[in-house]
Symmetry: C2
Subunit: 416 residues, 2 copies
């Protein structure tokens, strides 16, 4: 069988099996998820063995230490996966929720109710925990799930997917609710993205090469890509607070999408603020790049080029720019931001209000770190990714973002 | 300038101008819309003159009478457009609505608030009223709008778009909030659909050829396409009610997407129901096509072929099938329906409940005609089309479906 035919048949079976999980009650789904949790605990040794073979292969293949670390499991990481399943079990079932309900003058009763999306594919990279985290979330939302992890973690992911399938089967669900794609070629992604007839949604969890692989997708994609995040320190900012927030936004985890890449400082605050934050950033190993005004205050900063203002460093590098007004800050963010997370630090309620209203990013902060753009931090209880899309879901995604809705209309013989 | 460069520049200006309308208050937007309404009234003679030139050209070009009718305006149709603007003015402003609001244990306050989508293109065909109806709706939702109507109505649409632009400008909005595409070639659609960087959404309003033109779009599309709608007459149906509903669903306007195409009848009701409904349908000029069981009761029906069960006739043709059970009806709808609108007629609450739960269509009816799948009938106050998509918007679309959301997060120095 060709890869194309093979994948199409997996997706077709997933579509059919998906009807069972779509119609299942919250209790039925939770019983299956509890069995997933149990399987993770009981089969920890087998998971470790599979993972060790992946890790050995990765080391032989010359993978970077950082990638090998992402790939590696140990008892505590497996226990964390089991706990995350427990958290998903504790979340309320989104399916069947009544979103709105109204009556029409002709007596028709219209009920807008939440239903699963259908067949959802998660395409991810080295981290094997995504197999469990994303798989379990999709199933809880009543979707059939297609899992396509990175080739480095094939043995681990394959076993983890099997543990989910076993748990489903032991609880009366068809095994095809989970389609694990064990073909490590990029070609599989090219096939998946061209089948809107068989696949309702793709959620990618990965970097630039995955973004490129999904270009031109005909299936709907909820991307989780660029984060060029700004923090604007207003002239009315509490500068000590600004320093703590900026340091946190840049340094607590520079490799993630919600880390600050560009610092904007009001010219009236620049003289007082920049030396202090520069000292702290430099001590933490951050390379500073500034515009000419910044460099009059921080001559040690490198010259920022045009490209710097649009770059997602994901690294210990910070671009800094002095702005003349909040208008300039908002305008700059509108031109150079990626629309993911941007913050203002200010004690002025008017400035805060304008920033909230006029900055059109998925998450707009007043006096807090952009690092809170995250499903757990939002209280969604689990990580489905952060959408950089404007439609369907925007920003941190929870269970609800894995659903759609339908209208039920109850009549008594109405005609039009 | 090439068409590509020309369109790109229109879209870029729309993006910039769109920020003004995105941030405008409901009153500001309503003032501009009131001026649109006034322009329609004051300039009725000019609109009629432009329309007469389109109609004359269409007649010379040999357009069908039905298409010429769609294209033609008269005083009463123009007055209806003005009334529809008035209705949109009366709708509450969706922008700024607080969808959800909660506090986190760390003191962060999270506010999910409704914002415009950005730049929305409406691609439509002969009917000039769409220029006003869809244009005004998009603007009320705070979006810049790109209007691309059919070439038959170019003179009319061009003037109508100008009346909107004049009204915007007279009320302090930049004229580029409306981009009217006066190039009648299909090439323009091919360019628009490949610019996700400049365009956030395409809403097509048209038939099969438009669907084909938009295949492979990289911009998000909320399609309004196929409606293969079923009515299932259960064994517990009130057969007089079933007859009225089926007749309405098929005959009140057979050319629209929410008209019934397939009638399913429980075998225990077939003998009693089919002769009566067949007589009434035949008298109304409906051609009946049945499966073998139907034809034992209605020998005059033509034999339905496999293709009939998947065909959107949009005409006075009805496919009829006898089913053994509600399970068979639900399974049949799941295989052959387009997921737009499906109905059960039954007096049995258990059957009604199963149908509501198990049929996964955008609108699922109990004891009412599928013809109610419509924005006006849902009480949305205006017609934005009916989405046959599963993501973002499903079923009849109102103002809300022309918006997205952002999160505002208010802190007091929180770091992570």
């Amino acid at each position: 069988m060709t890869l194309e035919a093979d994948l199409a048949s997996q997706l077709q079976y997933a579509r059919i099996a998906g009807r069972t999980i779509a119609l299942a009650s919250g209790e039925q789904k939770n019983r299956a998820l509890a069995a997933v949790q149990q399987n993770l605990t009981c089969r920890t040794d087998d998971i470790l063995a599979a993972n060790q073979s992946d890790v050995a292969r990765a080391r032989d293949g010359g993978l970077t230490a950082a990638l090998v670390d992402r790939l590696s499991l140990n008892r505590s990481r497996i226990a964390a996966m089991a706990r995350s399943v427990e958290e998903v079990i504790a979340l309320p079932d989104p399916v069947g929720e009544i979103i709105a309900r109204w009556a029409r003058p002709n007596g028709l009763e219209i009920i807008q109710t939440r239903v699963p999306i259908g067949v959802v594919a998660i395409i991810y990279e080295a981290r094997p925990n995504v197999t469990i985290d994303a798989g379990v979330l999709c199933l809880k939302a009543g979707n059939a799930v297609v899992l396509r992890g990175g080739k480095e973690a094939l043995a681990t992911n394959s076993l983890l997917a099997k543990l989910i399938v076993d748990a489903l089967q032991a609880n009366g669900f068809p095994p095809d609710c989970v389609a694990f794609i064990n073909n490590p070629d990029r070609e599989a992604i090219q096939i998946l993205k061209r089948r809107p007839d068989l696949l309702d949604l793709i959620i990618p969890r990965g970097g630039k090469s995955l973004k490129e692989a999904l270009a031109g997708a005909e299936v709907a994609v909820l991307p989780h890509f660029d984060g060029v995040c700004h923090t604007y320190v207003d002239r009315a900012a509490d500068l000590k607070m600004a320093e703590e927030i900026c340091f946190n936004a840049k340094c607590s985890r520079p490799s993630v999408c919600n880390a600050m890449e560009t610092l904007l400082v009001h010219r009236e605050a620049a003289d007082r603020f920049l030396p202090a934050i520069a000292q702290r950033m430099t001590a933490a190993g951050v390379e500073l790049r500034g515009d000419p005004q910044v460099r009059t205050i921080l001559p040690e900063a490198r010259i920022a080029t045009d490209a710097d203002w649009d770059t997602e460093y994901l690294d210990l590098i910070l671009a800094i720019r002095v702005v003349d007004s909040i208008d300039d800050a908002i305008e700059f963010i509108s031109c150079h931001g990626s629309g993911l997370a941007d913050a203002i630090i200010t004690g002025d309620p008017e400035a805060a209000g304008r920033f909230e209203h006029e900055v059109d990013s998925a998450t707009v902060y007043v006096n807090a770190s952009t690092r809170f753009t995250d499903g757990f931090e939002f209280g969604f209880g689990a990580e489905t990714g952060i959408s950089t899309n404007r439609l369907h879901a925007r920003g941190p995604m929870g269970l609800r973002e894995l659903t759609t809705y339908k209208y039920v209309i109850r009549g008594s013989g109405q005609i039009r």
